[in-house]
């Protein structure tokens, strides 16, 4: 790989990706205010883009950005204190600034603190996602609003309110205590998994079926978390799960814009580099001998699928055994539904259908429940019932490619009687 030309858009984008979270985290620590940190970081990057286009990127862009952003933050605080509003606060902050500089290495922890703050359980789930993408990922408010199909003003308000709550409610700036850590790491990973899933199967018919910018961002941030928490098994598990899923992305939607199910995908089109990296992570976790969490088990299931050169070579007994393990960790109806899909391959569609039908009280509003039933009924030759189930699945499916696939399957039964 060659370095991009100095001052090129590519070089600027790379610096932005690599340095944004570090600059925001360092400033948030120094000034104790996410709002000031975000604004100053954004101003510093804007200044950098102008300057670096003509002068090229300096040798240590991170330090340049942090210094510039800190100066912008100080300017803002002085401006506000001149207006007499935050005099005492600014005084305190200036005193803090005069203290010794942060030791090297502590900066890594700052980014981790930023992640835990953004994914704090006291914030609403959608606010956690927005805050993480803005403050850790460096996406603009407009980009996040577009990704989640809301008005830019709505997204801006969501982020402003979340920052205000962090400050007013006293959400702490620290890595959680050892007893809280597993639950809090799970909170961070859940945010990243939601971002990934929204990219991999967009929930709205108005969005592109697959949005690589969101899956890519989720993977990038999960890599960052792995860098910061290299010994956490669930972090490795989520990264493996994302990589093994992302590897199949280009085979997942047909040229005609239709979703292609796993057993019908062109496996030669899978990204073998991502598959290899995902498999290596799964092997690393198996070798650890530690009991896996849900992301590690999901990654292992995807490793079995991506290990088969042909769908017919899939080791279904292994898949069902892993789902049994997953049910013990997460006995939710959705996990039981996914397990039944594997059971259909091992014990036949009639056994799977009986299991799926027990879930109707919980999953009647979930499109995948009806799509699974439809497929099982089709395989059992119960055409009229299959057709009805496809209708219900289509009515509930949001994703355009998935709707196209289900519609074609339904129409194979001919016109409605």
């Amino acid at each position: 790989m060659t370095d991009p030309a100095p001052g090129s858009d590519e070089a600027l984008t790379r610096v932005h990706r690599e340095e944004w979270a570090r600059v925001v985290a360092t400033l948030a620590r120094r000034f104790g205010d996410l709002d000031i940190a975000e604004d100053a970081a954004a101003e510093a990057f804007a200044t950098a883009v102008e300057r670096w286009r003509t002068h090229g990127v300096p040798p240590n862009p991170g330090a340049w950005l942090t210094t510039t952003a800190a100066n912008k933050a100080l300017d803002r605080i002085r401006r506000e204190s001149r207006r007499g509003t935050k005099q005492r606060q600014a005084h305190m902050l200036t005193d803090q600034l005069a203290g010794p500089p942060e030791p090297e290495g502590a900066v890594e922890d700052e980014r981790l603190r930023l992640l835990f703050t953004c994914a704090h359980p006291a914030l609403a789930p959608e606010a956690r996602i927005a805050l993480t993408l803005r403050l850790v990922g460096g996406l603009t408010v407009a980009e996040i609003a577009h990704a989640f199909l809301v008005q830019e003003t709505t997204m801006a308000q969501r982020i402003t309110r979340a920052k205000a709550k962090v400050k007013a409610a006293g959400i702490p700036w620290r890595v959680p205590s050892e007893t809280d850590l597993p639950a809090r790491v799970d909170g961070v990973l859940t945010v990243l998994y939601l971002v990934f899933n929204e990219g991999y199967l967009a929930s709205s018919a108005d969005a592109d079926p697959v949005r690589a910018e969101l899956t890519g961002e989720a993977i990038r941030l999960t890599r960052l978390v792995r860098e910061l928490l290299p010994d956490d098994g669930e972090v490795a598990g989520l990264l493996a799960l994302m990589l093994l899923t992302e590897a199949r992305r280009s085979a997942r939607v047909s040229a005609g814009g239709e979703l292609v199910p796993l057993d019908q995908q062109d496996r030669g089109a899978w990204d073998q580099e991502l598959v290899a990296e995902g498999h290596a992570l799964v092997r690393e976790r198996l070798a650890s001998g530690r009991p896996p969490g849900r992301f590690q088990v999901l990654a292992a299931i995807n490793a079995v699928h991506t290990d088969a050169a042909d769908a017919r070579d899939t080791d279904w007994s292994q898949v069902v055994a892993l789902y049994d393990q997953l049910v013990r960790l997460d006995p939710s109806p959705v996990v039981t539904l996914n397990r039944a899909i594997a059971v259909a391959e091992l014990d036949g569609p009639h056994v799977a259908l009986a299991q799926v039908d027990t879930l109707s009280a919980h999953l009647a509003g979930y499109h995948a429940f009806h799509a699974t039933r439809a497929d099982l009924l089709r395989r059992l030759g119960r055409g009229a019932e299959a057709r009805e189930a496809y209708d219900r699945a289509i009515g509930l499916a949001g994703n355009a490619a998935e709707s196209a696939y289900l519609t074609r399957r339904r129409d194979q039964f001919g016109p409605a009687r």
Partner: protein
Amino acid sequence: MHYLLTVIGDTDNPADDSAPGAIDAFNDRLKDEGRWVFAGGLTDPQDATVTDSRGGEPVFTDGPFVESKEFLAGFWVVTADDLDVALALSADASRACHRKVEVRPFGGVA
């Protein structure tokens, strides 16, 4: 910081008071740890009277200011360094009083 831990009563789902000593034990712990400011349980919301002096002369009205299935049943005022500490206390408070507990920071304390 000071936090208000509000005990939320629920007419549809009354609290199980089978462990009456739990609240006393929690209160003692708050005092031992130096987090205690004030706490109390309230009588039934029907015992409330609403006063309105905005029109000059006070007007007294019987009953709570809002009728709802969920109501303020009591509260703790505690000191905690940050929200994580306050949330950990509220988890134990909810267990002790067997009700939902809302955590809110004070904007200022006189």
